[in-house]
Symmetry: C2
Subunit: 492 residues, 2 copies
Amino acid sequence: MDRPKSRPMVSRVIPVELFDLVVFGATGDLAQRKILPALLRRFVAGQVPEGSRLIGAARSEHSVAEYRAFAEAALAEHAAGVGTAEQRKAFIETLDYVTVDATGAQGWPELATKLVAGRVRAFYFSVAPRLFGALAERLHKYGMASGDARIVVEKPFGRDLATAEALNRDLAQHFAERQIYRIDHYLGKETVQNLLALRFANLMFEPIWNAAHIDHVQITVAETVGLEGRVAFYDDAGALRDMVQNHMLQLLALVAMEPPGSFNATAVRDEKVKVLRALREMGTGKTVTGQYRAGAIGGKAVPGYDEELGKASNTETFVAIKAHVDNWRWKGVPFYLRTGKRLPQRVTEIMVQFRCVPHSIFAGKGATMQPNRLVIGIQPEENISLSLMSKVPGLDREGIRLRQVPLDISMPDAFVGQHRRIAYERLLLDLIEGDQTLFVRRDEVEAQWHWIDAIRAGWRAEGLAPKPYTSGSWGPSAAIALAERDGVSWHE
Amino acid sequence: MDRPKSRPMVSRVIPVELFDLVVFGATGDLAQRKILPALLRRFVAGQVPEGSRLIGAARSEHSVAEYRAFAEAALAEHAAGVGTAEQRKAFIETLDYVTVDATGAQGWPELATKLVAGRVRAFYFSVAPRLFGALAERLHKYGMASGDARIVVEKPFGRDLATAEALNRDLAQHFAERQIYRIDHYLGKETVQNLLALRFANLMFEPIWNAAHIDHVQITVAETVGLEGRVAFYDDAGALRDMVQNHMLQLLALVAMEPPGSFNATAVRDEKVKVLRALREMGTGKTVTGQYRAGAIGGKAVPGYDEELGKASNTETFVAIKAHVDNWRWKGVPFYLRTGKRLPQRVTEIMVQFRCVPHSIFAGKGATMQPNRLVIGIQPEENISLSLMSKVPGLDREGIRLRQVPLDISMPDAFVGQHRRIAYERLLLDLIEGDQTLFVRRDEVEAQWHWIDAIRAGWRAEGLAPKPYTSGSWGPSAAIALAERDGVSWHE
């Protein structure tokens, strides 16, 4: 009989609606590295309908021609090889530019005249959060905040619950929640969405996706880089606010959430926020913080954080947390979170470790039993791997000898050849389509900060200082101990 | 982090104990095609300790030299390319021969003198079942039935419950059950054992291995051949007794059994026999029988069964059964069994179909939902494949598009290069080691016949005649209807 072969299926490219996308901060880093390249890719794929425009807006004086030249240079660096010369030229010609003073009056009337009624209208706030309120207010004042206009905001969304609430209030003055798209670009990743497909399109996982069958979950976001250009911002933030508050808690919520009634914005986010609110408030001894010192990564010497910064600092560049979700499903299951800079490898992954079988019928038969694991790789490679125990083929005298077989679920075949998609491509399309499922809702971001603030309050109360760790190591030894104490090893 | 790679693990070849293996029927078909080749392979692998011997015994007069020449010819045909010329020569030299009259006195004293005390002693009854009793009696009479001597018996083990019980009684007169090895060579297959590893060495399957999560099970044993040389035997037996009573019920038992306390002969067979006894007695309308007519297979015309036989017959060459296991685990789950000759493909497989997800959150998103399936391929290829739903990579406008991904569990890597093992290799080693786990126990074979007899009694009571089907088709249309009636399609 014919076994089902996995045929290479390609995504069906259907153009989105005609749109005007205004990018505030159009000359900034994000616009150059992500927004312009993502739009170019979708344009080349035929998903951007003719007539749609990207209108750059920023403080600096540029003519449209100058901005196009600027964008061309950015795309040469960050989207080399995408499309033909003709396609790239056509894309560049869709770009427009207006000089705008976010806190003044300059440029706003001009911007308003550029927008065409009857098409999708989106405003991308790729600027410092302190400007969000001013932008929202002016969009309203100059008549651009039409009923279905959308605004997109980037992280950091506040620096604690109070500032996040203030930002939400500012935006809410002029835009309804259904118009506000808070980006967490991790949600735009292929494997993050595939995790949802896996959990909810298969019968196999849901019955074992609970405390009775899952031993623990690990979420790792490891970077090899140090401060880079983010000196001022990072020292003010630290790893907890930079990584855990947003990306890692979103991943945790997707792993832990109950099955939503539907894959839509309301149902999915209702379930995520329940998880975030069920996060147990942290007691002492459940977190470890660290700050990197000089060391070596990939054989190359690198300086310590304090050296890079040029002064001593109490900011954590590493944090490990043993978290719990207090509900029926997850009672007693630890969620180990770990993120840091200057770690040995760049890797983002979720590891779900199932319990051991309750009793091994193969004991004493030369069988080494390993618990089942599901590893969801997010960076640098996107893949999902399920490890099962299988019989070693052959005639061992012990009877049945076992080995662990890792099964590649997500990318088993012809897809490898396809270009790695920027998460922003997905998110920009969803924005134009008006689908908020993969964007963060107000109550989520506030629940995230609520939990994070309590951790920081605990640190302050304890007078906790980050422990130094050598660059190129997996953080302070206390982080290893945090897991080992439970008999758990970090997945490396 | 390093992902676990599946390293090619090779089986550890540890020699078994020193043995004398007496093969009654040493010039027969099975000895030539399976027993001699299997032993040669294990000899070449270094698993047969020096001094061990195969002693052929049969009615025909041969010198040892003649038997060795006979064996050499058989191996040239059925084990070409195994080992070096030197190894093959050394193996041939371990062969001995005695002319024996199974029902008389000739040869028995001579055979007795050939056996060496203190080594494993096994007698392979590769003869017609009507001779089992005579052989057992003579082994006893001539002092060869030592306390740990073992006898091996082949199918057919009786032709109904009464004859099977009689055979068991005959053997039991001279040998204890722990000395009797009833072969069902399907149990020697790699994937059949791997099914047990999969079920009981992974946490993932047991919680969903029940009526709440499994929709139905299909077991198919399809042959393309017709009668071949088995005219007299087959017309007397039919598909139900030839295939279902032994192989297919054993497969069913392995799929359906509760977790045994240990992977040993008692625990595993205790669980299997419980399943066999829980088989629901068949009512009418749950079986379909057929007999092939002329047709074409692989583009080649083939005659009908009656033509091959040279007369009309009421023997079924095809049978399809909808069976049930009446216990808590399997309440309401149909086990569809199907076997036949002159079907379009040679294939033996088990297909476990899980239920659909109770609710699709992806409905209306261009997602085609398929239930999870586990397919255990036994012939012609041995493999185990688990099909899951995964997200189609890409930016479909519908959100998440799904596809079925078949994951190859058993043979994902370097093992493909290894020679296909004969199931007899495993079973012969287990015989020498004294491990009965993969042999059929008395109570099992009797439970199997009990269920089969009731089906045949039903046929007789109904006056059921097999429906004709064209060679090269999947049997009578009534067999399709048997499954379709439940909304189930046979896996092809």
